[in-house]
């Protein structure tokens, strides 16, 4: 249809004029689009200022407990919206250091938290929960039956990466098991030789075991509860286990947000602590 009209005005001059007109229209359309995008880019901040929302960055192991915490908080603090971003604490800390808009940061270990605090991105943290490690195996699997079976050759073991808190704790625990009261001096070396994959967060370790891809994985005690009977758990001897302490803080961003502090207070309060306990966490130390 366009070409049909074009043939009617077929003098070169007309063609140029027509082209110019079309190009102009196209350009203004493009500028309009850019303007729209700019507006879209701005609007969330405008909404946040008027809207009572809290953005919480939390370690993956907190996923289920904090989702419940958020729902309860929204119920008791009417009109407040809580949004979560769950990932490994190390990813979250890098994102916060790069300026991600988090109001609250809950980490699975003190080192990761310290890095964020030292960079001036967050307030002094409070410890709000503790956790311990456990060995998980697929349901009905008989490859790994005791803790020392982890060192058997051929076991497909999955851990969290070296820099992920769960992975750090697991390696610390294995080092304990190679020490004085442990299983044997080369236990850690033999277990680490069985590692087939280093996952980016503790929940990915759990999934690999749930699927039966791995024969065993090392996760937090609370993750077993989250897997709802799809995995078996093998306890790690108490004297070898590592106590993971979870710190929480309000970030620099969150200081302007009154509700960020209220959320942290809620996590530390009795109702908050009860939710954590229901999900298998130990109380604040």
């Amino acid at each position: 249809m366009v070409s049909g009209r074009g043939s009617r005005f077929s003098t070169p001059l007309r063609a140029t004029v027509r082209y110019r007109g079309r190009a102009k229209r196209f350009t203004s359309l493009a500028f309009g689009l850019v303007l729209l995008l700019v507006c879209l880019g701005c609007s969330p901040t405008i909404i946040v200022k008027g809207d009572p929302a809290v953005t919480v960055f939390a370690a993956s192991s907190l996923t289920d407990a904090f989702k419940e915490m958020g729902a309860e908080f929204e119920r008791t603090h009417t009109g407040t919206k809580v949004t979560f971003s769950f990932a490994s604490s190390s990813i979250l800390s890098t994102q916060i250091e790069e300026g991600a808009p988090a109001d609250v940061f809950a980490s699975a270990d003190a080192d990761t938290m310290r890095a964020v605090v030292e960079s001036g991105r967050a307030d002094e943290p409070h410890s709000f929960a503790t956790n311990a490690l456990v060995v998980v195996v697929p349901r009905n699997s008989t490859v790994v039956q005791t803790f020392s079976d982890l060192a058997k050759p051929g076991v497909k073991l999955v851990l969290a990466g070296k820099d992920v808190p769960a992975g750090k704790y697991a390696r610390l625990m294995l080092a304990n098991a190679s020490g004085g009261q442990g299983i044997g001096p080369d236990f850690s070396t033999r277990v680490l030789a069985n590692v087939r994959s280093e996952e980016s967060n503790v929940r990915a370790v759990l999934t690999k075991v749930q699927l039966g891809e791995a024969d065993a994985g090392i996760v937090y005690r609370t993750d077993v509860q989250a897997a709802k009977g799809e995995v078996g758990a093998i306890t790690i001897p108490g004297e070898l286990n590592v106590a993971a302490t979870y710190p929480i803080t309000v970030t620099k961003e969150g200081k302007q947000n009154v509700r960020a502090r209220t959320f942290v207070e809620y996590v530390l309060s009795k109702p908050g602590q009860e939710i954590l306990a229901r999900h298998g966490f130990g109380g604040a130390p």
């Binding site: 890098t94 250091e97 497909k156 999955v158 990466g161 820099d163 280093e198 996952e199 980016s200």
Partner: protein, 261 residues
Amino acid sequence: MGVGVLVLAFAVFFILPFAGLITRAIEGDRATWDLATSSVARDALALSVWTSTVTVMLAVVFGTPVAYVLARTNFPGRSLCDALIDLPIVLPPTVAGVALLTAFGRRGLIGEPIEAWTGFTFGFRTLAVIMAQTLVAAPFYVRAARAGFSAVDPQFERVAYTLGASRFRAFFRVLAPQARSAMLAGVVLCWARAMGELGATLIFAGSLQGSTQTMPLAILGAFEGSNGLTGAVALSLVLLGVALLALWLFRVVAQRAGSEG
């Protein structure tokens, strides 16, 4: 003038991220260099290069006949086959990873019987990386080759048949040379996609230095690591360099192929 502004805006948007990467690398100084030459980077790069090469070879060997059949024959359900091959292009690679697990995982459709008979498992092996890359990247080659074959007038092959050429000979002497640039473009697309594969590999193959940790997985790992962004920047730069080199090589090959044809 208006068009110039649009072109400029587009160019700025594409150049800025790379400028950021290079600026960070220079700021990182010694740390960047150490990380870019670490064993993690070396192992990941070697693994990425050889798995993506195997993937491209598999795509060419198995994909060319598929592309030929789709372009030159007509059978019931051909358009369905066409759509099926395009599917991995449209779906996110994470879906491919999950799908591979349900088929080849230890509890998968054929993964389970295979382990029961032979004790062999697919997960956590370099083979799994290649499978993930092939599922995600090979369709790009098939698509390009198919389009290339379709664009060639079938009369040329008919003439070859009347001169006594077999189907096989007509393909290699008549069709393939004319579709060469399309096939090459398919190879580049397929290789690039395989090189960048992350989601399917992470889900199906896992991540371990030396056996399944390809460059994108190593970059993700570095991002999580104690070096944070510096580590990720260093590894990204290595990959950027390799990609530029490869693209330049492909260009040279394509030009030579073009001047011969």
